[in-house]
Symmetry: D2
Subunit: 287 residues, 4 copies
């Protein structure tokens, strides 16, 4: 039995009494049935966060979209910022890579296995190396956009054009070794990056070498939204693994690659399921 | 600034459309302000679960208890089974021990540090060994109730009388090495046990020896509600730690003791915060 | 700089005084330089285990093999059972699969990335479904050997012939859903399996369904050598992940698949690096 | 059966061929029987590290100390720096605290339970608050040494005198909130500190507040040797726990306190078992 299509709203705004009741009553009175609802209040900053998911019996896609639009208007009238989608929507994803392919394959295999509810439409790389790897997956276009200091503005313009042509909703940096400009980020829509360390430790380049030099007993990986402040964007997910003096930098890279794959794909799945609300330097993750 | 006293309701019953809206509207219309609400639907068994916590501005303790009673009646009218408490209530706890003291000290120190919102009123043991350890904590009575096959019914009757005299709300088995009878459990109220293995593996006696013989690479601990079926009660919390061939049975016991302390105190805290709903062989844990 | 080729010996036998000294002196007096040495004594069963790795300056492959043969003879004279390889040896691996492809892709990608020092020479499946997936990797043959109760002896004979033709050193069951007979195991050489639970809990079929029904708070995966006793072989590696009431059986399968991949590839790597000694129902894992 | 007394040597120095053989032959020829031996080579810095533990049949304490002295001379002749102890030696420990008592109780209970092979002889605090807590343990002296900017040199002199009077071998900072001067550290012998974060992230004050502000999904604790560079000493052990947006700073402190206890007592045990070699900014931990 297919589960019914649901409407998912993700919203936040200034806290006020009765918000949970107001939202759930609105849905009930409009004929909806709440499947899940989860909320959070930031008691210091007095912000209210909610993820609510509901169905309408016998409603077709058109009716669901009408309901979604009505809800958006009602929530905005309450001062909320709202993201709203249907559970059948499939966001279009672009993956940006350089030469390392482990995170790309991990995402592509999960996508092909139906584990990630999205369309993985294209890969953009500043090198041509991964073209054959990408071409083993039906339906993913590969775009080679070389990048240098000199051509960066032109290269980013080309990348943005590719994103627009593919109508991309989400960009995933799967070990993309170039810094994106604030201008790119302002136009690209949301961008998720995997950083190969337990941020905020070892921000910047060569974190496994830094971790080895410092003699840490755990290494980590961090998936975060990209903001103009390098490695400072809101954290979506993190994980760690044990290391010891027996592990050299190569071992750390191998163990780290395992972490990167799991942490990045978990973060992308949380985003696709509309479970992540970024605000300020943080996220609320309804998992 | 002291946070306001809240009413916490924990309930479950047959799922039906509009439950979230009905509950939140009821609270709003009775002047309450929802602080947290979390719910879950068991999609296979069509059961609805909810934990909801709310405050009333300017309400004194008497008014809050009146509201709680009204809510209970309303929820029961919806077919829900309800547990309801005020955040200022301090359940009275009895700890049952044998000779091992690590879990007892862990609970007692956390209680004394204010980390566990309860009154740890007494310790019952089938041996007298831990009397001096218990007496270093002000306010905890120690009761020695020896137990043998022959005197078990009388001993359990004495234990139940102690629980009643201390008006105990929750019994915690902190490495108590005796099986409680169904009759005891029917009268004692809820009982939480720490089992020194990752259940359902290695149920029964000497789990660390079993784990060592089997050569597992991880050992665990499990906190669960006690039911008449030994080691089969609903699981509240579990954790594991790495082991290797270098660890002998003594090492496993030491590592296991660390796990037991953290897992048991976490489970007791979850129970005290009204976050655990047991149903059938499972729990819903709103953490 | 390429590290020098090393000889790796893995051995165990009855404990006796001076073994470490005897072994290291032998290597030194034959011109070797110990790079790593790790040993373990099972104090209950009085068994000595050692992994020792050494190099010879300026020795070519032929000289190293001569030294390895000399060492084997010397160790056997001490009553030791010995496995011995050169660090440049590349064991030949066959992967057996049914329909699930996540563990296969994980192994194949790691092999192609140079992370697993082996030759992945063939895949054997009782279904034809994964043929196209296998064919995207250059150099891996695909063999379809259908299996039913009726044809099992003939099918296993065909599988053994395939293993022999490919000169396979290690068989990896990457979610192969058929029980291998003791006869097959006697002829196949070592076989590593991934079991989708934290053994010994939930042995047998449908472990994620069992885990969900039992309401556990952690799920696991276990890689072990296959023996005639189903799910009872010596454990090489295990890992777990958190679950809650929010996760249905599908979620458990997805989380479990992540564990299976990491646990299986870790176990295969440990085996390939000659770090695992199986004895009785256990392993010593020099990691 | 009591295990035999062993000699434990922990040493490091410039790598050279045949070291393992030389050491094990020396022990064998002097009548010793190696129980454990573990070594490591830092391939970048060409340093050799070894922990070796051996017994002598029928040797009394005096003979073992004679053997230990002979070994030290032999190892130093090889250019090694050596620490050497008997397994029956019980290092004398001083614990320094301020007001938080969780780490102190954890250490004291483990010491009393026989889990830590040491004599916990005294507690030194810059406040008098924990005197009653300390006095519940027989045999631990409490010393109150108030500290201010003005009296720091005098206070440290008094602390050093206390350490000397108690013949202290190891100082453990169990949430001691004062920075020790390089002069103190030069005279005190080894000092282990617990830092309430996953170093190098969130070094300095209020790490749980920093972690909350940054929105991390994991918090950690780090035990390290203290050096004149604040929070930069060689790391002995680390662990982490999950957190989410639901956890406020108080929750982080409670979860963090659990981590601190386990990480600190693990590090102290590793040190007491002569498993930790500090060199430069790192440790080699033979666990």
């Amino acid at each position: 039995m297919t589960p019914p299509t649901t409407i998912i709203a993700l919203m936040f705004g200034p806290d006020q009494p009765g918000l949970v009741a107001t939202v759930s009553r609105w849905i009930f009175e409009n004929g909806g049935n709440i499947i899940h609802a989860d909320q959070h209040r930031d008691a210091e900053e007095l912000i209210f966060f909610q993820r609510v998911e509901w169905s309408h019996a016998d409603a077709d896609d058109q009716e669901l979209r009408r309901q979604a639009a009505l809800f958006r208007a009602a929530a905005e009238a309450l001062g909320m910022a709202v993201q709203i989608t249907l559970s059948t929507d499939r966001p279009r994803i672009a993956v940006m890579v350089t030469k390392a392919d482990h995170c790309f394959h991990d995402l592509a295999l999960r996508w092909r296995a139906g584990e990630l509810p999205c369309d993985l439409v294209c890969v953009i790389s500043n090198h041509d190396d991964l073209r054959p790897a990408v071409q083993t997956y039906d339906g993913i276009a590969f775009h080679h956009v070389p990048k240098s200091k000199a051509n960066k503005p032109a290269a980013e313009a080309e990348e943005l054009a590719i994103l627009q042509r593919h109508r991309v909703d989400l960009v995933v940096l799967a070990r993309y070794m170039q810094v994106l400009t604030p201008d790119f980020l302002a136009k690209s829509g949301p961008v998720i990056n995997i950083h190969h360390s337990f941020l905020p430790a070892f921000a910047g380049a060569n974190p496994y070498r830094q971790a080895h030099a410092r003699g840490v007993k755990l290494i980590g990986a961090t998936a975060h939204y990209v903001t103009p402040e390098l490695d400072e964007g809101p954290i979506i997910h993190q994980a760690v693994d044990d290391v010891s003096h027996r592990h050299d930098v190569t071992d750390l890279r191998r163990k780290g690659a395992n972490l990167e794959k799991v942490v990045l794909s978990t973060a992308v799945l949380l985003h696709l399921q509309c479970r992540v609300l970024a605000y300020g330097r943080k996220t609320v993750t309804f998992d």
